[in-house]
């Protein structure tokens, strides 16, 4: 197992006024054996970064280190990476077995051993019985497995996966998530996986780097990124989020959480309490993020129980999704607010007057204005 260091990587296409910055100042430290995800919208630079790691694109600046070895100037064939391509890139003129044996062959593994190795890897992905077939005779899911087997058979230091599930249908994709994670983790290889699907990343990753416009927005474990996003972009990209702008009225030490603070914030919809790990000066402008499913919803005539702030709201539109109901409400002051409740609860309907209970632990303070940091 080997670590991967990305040091200040930048990539610019073109020069002068026509220059387009694809990556800027990216630093990452990926641990040995880690299943690391690069997540972001189309065009954020995640695939460019993956191809820089593979040596298929030369960075404009920065270094790539695999373990102690600086591989920045090495051609792809000398890097000991193996990539699973988005379209799988299985060679149509070779059988499944020849595809899988290619990597070991290029790395000088003797014929007998590479035959064994291919068999092991194909067995691992349950494709051994298809070894004699051509890629065109396989389904999408089978091709994906062969692509993984081909990459693993090369015994790479770093396994790279470029949206390998994006060509599969929704049901198969869900099934392959678990299978792929199990495969990668059992092989023990350090892996970097690119995707724009936040659910895929949340379900499979050890850690995720969220990217936006060629830069890293935040790096962390899935739960940390979801519950405590570092900014609006990450909060919005990983699931749905409500944002309430406000001003800090008071800050006091939290009685329950050691070292924490309870912050009272005035928003256009009313007062809101939030926990914070750091102190914030009273009078600061902040933005508060609340996840739709983290709000308790009551009909107005009921009196909500439990700690937290209560907001009156009117349902504007509602959608029934089976397992859940989603609705857009309007808070006092006209602020729109999304909520999500289990599908089995009483039905949300337009014009219904409701109360929302928001617990301070479910409020994330995102931004502070520059005058009052």
């Amino acid at each position: 197992m080997i670590s991967l260091e990305i040091e200040n990587i930048g990539k610019t296409y073109g020069t002068g006024s026509s220059a387009a910055v694809a990556l800027e100042g990216v630093n990452l430290s990926i641990r040995p054996g880690e299943f690391f995800f690069l997540l972001g919208p189309s065009g954020c630079g995640k695939t460019t970064l993956l191809r820089i790691i593979a040596g298929l694109i030369e960075p404009t600046k920065g270094r790539v280190l695999m373990g102690e070895r600086d591989v920045t100037a090495l051609p792809p064939e000398d890097r000991k990476t193996a990539m699973v391509f988005q379209n799988y890139a299985l060679w149509p003129h070779m059988t499944v077995r020849r595809n899988v044996e290619f990597g070991p062959k290029m790395r000088g593994v003797p014929t007998g051993r590479r035959h064994e190795l291919a068999g092991e890897c194909l067995d691992m992905v349950q494709m051994l019985q298809y070894a004699g077939r051509k890629p065109s005779q396989l389904s999408g899911g089978q091709q994906q497995r062969v692509a993984v087997a081909r990459a693993l058979a090369a015994r790479p230091d770093i396994l790279l996966l470029d949206e390998p599930l994006s060509n599969l249908d929704a049901r198969l994709r869900q099934h392959m998530r678990d299978e792929l994670r199990q495969l990668v983790k059992s092989s023990g290889v350090t892996a970097v996986y690119v995707t724009h699907d936040q659910k895929e990343a949340m379900a499979m990753a050890d850690r995720i780097a969220v990217m936006n416009a060629g830069r890293l927005a935040q790096v962390g474990e899935p739960r940390q990124l979801y519950d405590r996003p570092g900014g609006r972009f990450v909060a919005d990209f990983l699931g749905e989020a409500n944002f309430l702008d406000g001003r800090v009225l008071a800050v006091r030490a939290d009685q329950v959480r050691q070292g924490g603070y309870l912050v009272k914030i005035a928003t256009s919809a009313g007062e809101l309490d939030a926990f914070s790990d750091s102190s914030i000066q009273a009078g600061s402008n902040v933005a508060c993020m609340v996840r739709p499913e983290r709000v308790d919803v009551f009909e107005t005539q009921d009196r909500p129980a439990g700690a937290g702030c209560i907001f009156k709201a009117v349902v504007r539109s509602a959608t029934y999704l089976g397992q859940s109901q989603q609705a857009t409400c309007v808070l006092p002051g006209g602020t729109p607010f999304r909520i999500e409740i289990p599908g089995g609860q009483s039905r949300l309907a337009p014009s219904l007057e409701i109360s929302l209970l928001i617990h301070p632990r479910d409020v994330v303070i995102l931004e502070r204005d520059k005058q009052n940091p």
Binding site: Y13, A20, V21, A22, P41, G43, C44, G45, T47, T48, R51, A54, G55, L56, I57, E58, A73, P75, P76, E77, R79, T81, A82, M83, F85, Q86, N87, A89, W91, P92, H93, F102, G103, M106, R107, R150, A151, A154, L160, N212, A213, G214, R215, A217, G230, G231, R232, F233, V234
Partner: protein, 598 residues
């Protein structure tokens, strides 16, 4: 945190890895190969043409516009030029009329025997039009087979009036013969262009209320424009510079024929080269217009096909109609070939619709006569040599252009495609100028290429001329294959440890092998068919290729059998070329059209 989500960022380059700051040995290979190719094209294309052009502007060792003024001031020359342009326009228009409906029918319908008809439509390409001209004269002249047939069935009465000359005594005959030979090029281009149009575009037009005709003219036809223009350009230039057909048809007041006659007589005067310069300027201008203005592709706006094409399965009546359409055109197009075959096997054919006696003696003569037999061997030798050169150079060029990041790639692409804009006649004139050049005293005498000149042993000159003229077909053919092989297949190989050349050899070459073979087969076929270079550059009978020998026999006066012997030689040529075209068509299918793109 910035929320700016840049939509315009170009993120994944199309091709493989870029040159890196610390260059390795392997990184020098593509630029080195590109330089070698550019040098070869400069020596065998640019320098000969440059020499021909410089001869047009040189008198007594000094720059002079006298030749040029002489040509442009001559009413005869201007008339010849206008007549040449008229001929090319008429041929191109007739090709369009013949090819477009058939291409639409092929792309939008499906019927029994469609594949067979598609292959039969390529038959006209297996015979140079001048060979067919011999037989067409026999069939369609005043006392030819057609009129004799019409008299026999009572539709004509020779005693009342002279029968009509169906070939119109010149221009019309040349136009018909050229168009019947060349329209498959436009058909292939139009078919390819239609196949490339996302069916969603015409479907969207129909959905918004346009009828089938309006949809065709306002959506489909504009989208086909690049393909059509590419094909039309090739046909126009071909017709403009054809010499064989006008010579056989006796329609000689054309610029190309004048150039040929002067060079054939050994008159390397400045004014001949001035005509060469004018023809070249016209061809290159048209090529450039076609490529960069009228032929600009809509590729940037179009996307991958999102829906399946509207292909209508024809019923019995529709199939019959389609067969009739294809059948009439194919019948007209193969008429010259049938005529050639009849001539080759006829022992007596005087005042009868068909030969009254048949014989194998002309067919046997071709193999027994040393001159005709050696012309077949020579053609095979020249064609094999030039094909080998084309596959190596064209394949390399395609790889460099499509797969590598090389500085000046556009220049390389332009140079490799330039022969399409340079007619064989012009290149041959350039080679005549090159081999007539005597190095000045301060240069070594061995630089003189006189030994491979037309009057000495032009074997290498012909091989090189054939290779230069046909190399664009290989570049296009292999490029089309490379474009269909995702670059990620090579990247996957490199990523698993293969070097750049190793990945190309193990992955790319096997995947484009069909394209390489098909382009090679076509190149071979066209080399055997080559007329202009052959007529001008082979001046000694010992080195005549088939086409020159056919021309020689066909124009020999006083020996009644020579026309039949020429036809017999033509039959051998047709048999060879029919085989090669069938192989190419089987290997490439609809992609065959991509090879004929400008």
């Amino acid at each position: 945190m910035s929320q700016d989500n840049r939509k315009d960022m170009p993120l994944i380059p199309r091709s493989g890895p870029p040159a890196r700051a610390g260059m390795r040995m392997g990184d020098f290979i593509p630029p080195a190969l590109a330089i070698i190719l550019v040098l070869l094209m400069a020596i065998f294309l640019l320098i000969p043409i440059g020499m021909a052009i410089s001869s047009a502007f040189e008198k007594d060792g000094h720059f002079s516009l006298e030749w040029f003024a002489m040509v442009t001031g001559s009413r005869l020359m201007i008339e010849q030029m206008l007549r040449s342009v008229l001929l090319a326009c008429a041929t191109t228009a007739l090709c369009l009329v013949l090819a477009l409906p058939l291409a639409v029918l092929r792309a939008r319908t499906s019927f029994f025997g469609q594949g067979l008809l598609g292959i039969l439509l390529l038959v006209p390409m297996i015979l140079p039009p001048f060979v067919g001209a011999m037989s067409m004269r026999r069939l369609l002249c005043q006392f030819g087979s057609l009129n004799l047939l019409l008299e026999k069935i009572g539709l004509l009465d020779f005693s009342r009036a002279l029968p009509p000359d169906w070939l119109g005594g010149g221009l019309a005959g040349v136009v018909i013969l050229q168009a019947l030979h060349l329209f498959p090029i436009l058909y292939l281009n139009a078919s390819a262009a239609m196949a490339n149009i996302d069916p969603a575009y015409p479907q969207a037009a129909r959905n918004l209320g346009a009828g089938p005709w309006r949809t065709f003219f306002s959506v489909t036809l504009p989208l086909m424009r690049p393909g059509l223009f590419a094909g039309a350009t090739i046909i126009f230039i071909w017709s403009l510079t054809d010499i064989g057909t006008p010579l056989i048809m006796g329609y000689e007041q054309l610029t190309a024929v004048t150039i040929f006659k002067e060079l054939g007589r050994g008159n390397y005067f400045g004014w001949t080269y001035s005509l060469v310069f004018i023809m070249l300027s016209g061809s290159v201008t048209l090529y450039v217009l076609g490529k960069f203005i009228f032929g600009r592709s809509h590729a940037a706006e179009s996307s991958k096909a999102t829906v399946s094409a509207d292909v209508r399965r024809l019923g019995a009546a529709g199939t019959l109609g389609a067969w009739l359409m294809f059948g009439v055109v194919i019948m007209l197009a193969v008429l010259p070939h049938v005529g050639v075959a009849l001539m080759a096997f006829s022992d007596r054919w005087v005042n009868t619709v068909l030969p009254s006696q048949f014989t194998f003696k002309h067919i046997a003569f071709v193999l027994s006569d040393e001159r005709t037999y050696s012309s077949i061997v020579n053609s095979l030798k020249y064609a094999a040599g030039s094909t080998a050169i084309d596959i190596v150079l064209g394949g390399l060029a395609a790889w460099l252009i499509i797969r590598c990041r090389v500085r000046g790639k556009t220049l390389l692409d332009g140079l490799m495609m330039l022969p399409l804009a340079v007619p064989g006649l012009i290149l041959a004139a350039g080679y005549v100028a090159l081999t007539n050049w005597h190095p000045p005293s301060w240069l070594p005498a061995w630089l003189s290429l006189e030994a491979i000149g037309p009057t000495k042993n032009p074997t290498w000159l012909l091989i090189i001329a054939y290779a230069v003229r046909r190399v664009p077909f290989v570049v296009r053919g292999v490029s089309a294959g490379l474009e269909q092989v995702p670059v990620s297949l090579e990247e996957a190989a490199r990523n698993l440890g293969a070097s750049q050349l190793g990945a190309a050899w193990r992955i790319t070459v096997p995947l484009v092998a069909a394209n390489i073979i098909a382009a090679g087969v076509l190149t071979f076929a066209f080399a055997v068919l080559e007329v202009s270079d052959s007529l001008i550059l082979a001046q000694t009978e010992q080195y005549y290729p088939i086409t020159k020998q056919i021309y020689n026999l066909a124009t020999s006066a006083g020996f009644p059998q020579t026309a039949n012997q020429a036809a017999a030689l033509g039959v051998y040529g047709m048999a060879m070329l029919a085989g090669t075209m069938a192989i190419a068509s089987a290997l490439l299918g609809k992609r065959l059209g991509a090879i004929f793109r400008a």
